[in-house]
Amino acid sequence: MSTTPPLSTNSPILRTRLLEGRFSIHSVIARVEALAEFDVRNERRAKRQKLAGVISMILAVLTLLGGLAPLALLGLLAAIVLFVLAAKSRKLDIPNDVRLFALSWLRVVAADMNEDGEVVLKLDLNDVTSQAKRVASGRQGFYTCNEYRNPWFSGDAALADGARLHWEALIEVDERVRYKTKGRTKRKIKHVAKYDVVLGLPQDSFGVAQPSATAQDKVRVKVGEKRVVVRASRAVRSASLVPSRVEDLVATVAMAYRQTTPKTQSEQPA
């Protein structure tokens, strides 16, 4: 199993906000673990910097009231520097979906792969409501409407049972904001997490089972010359920005497997 050194703030991946390419499964897990560990450290650092900035500001005010203007100025400068550092740390923040979802999913996939298996992966570290992910913006009456679309995680893997697995995780957010001069800003969110899975199973080993899918799932099965290909999709809706759940992607793949059944020995080619 490969190990990756801890990430520093100068790491290129934090600049490009993209992990993309072909990796051995264990090396990509190590990379995502390094990202997750960096995220935890970075969040703690930003909190400490912000707290130190607030304390500096309070001390600056107190020393000013005490007539110690030079000290107050020093405190103010320190507060400004700390707030700037905290803002920089926040800019490097990685969405918690990377830690909670991507890492968990890769561990599940790794269990079904050979030790030397490879994945082709694309992991976008941008937050779904970032500027880069906004696809539409406009006004509707008093509301400012923003639409975001983030195809943040996708990949391909060859599993030990001969299956080919492709997955895509997409988040779409519709946001309507009404800014008020008096009272709280009103915000309405429609959040949809979509999971698309394509599972290709060896046709000589697997046949098509009785169709089964829940109301929130879409399933298509196609029997080819070499593979039974199952395409399954699931959409999970919410009225707030909720973290994606790896259980939903796992359940989508499980549903894809349910559309097939292993062939008996007599059904298999000799």
Partner: protein, 136 residues
Amino acid sequence: MSNCMCRQGFFTLRDCDQPATATCGKCSRTICRRHRDPAAKGAVLCVECAAVEEQAGRLPPAQVKSGGSFGGRAFYRRRDEFYRARIHRPVYWGTAVDPYYDCYDFVVFHHHHHHHDHMTIGDSADQDLAPSLMDS
């Protein structure tokens, strides 16, 4: 000693092909180094029994590296939850009969040949998989 008796995988189950180095103190199965729980101090436990003990509160929760679920012992606990809740019915690519797994509703696949052929993505044989994984 024989091979490890733990089964690896999530969507499909297969036998662990590693030589066993110890015996689990709870289920008495022979286990390899990889399937021995590292956090169960003073006792030799397989990861699956350790997950059950943790769930029952008899073992302190193990730290999951870098957070997220499905890490270390948590993987076996979550797998157990998925199988018991019938969210997934795994296919077992093996021939061993082991009552330890009787509580799971899995499908045994009797195959003529193995699919442990170490194929990689992008092999020429995968031309049928194209971007849409369709082959006809």
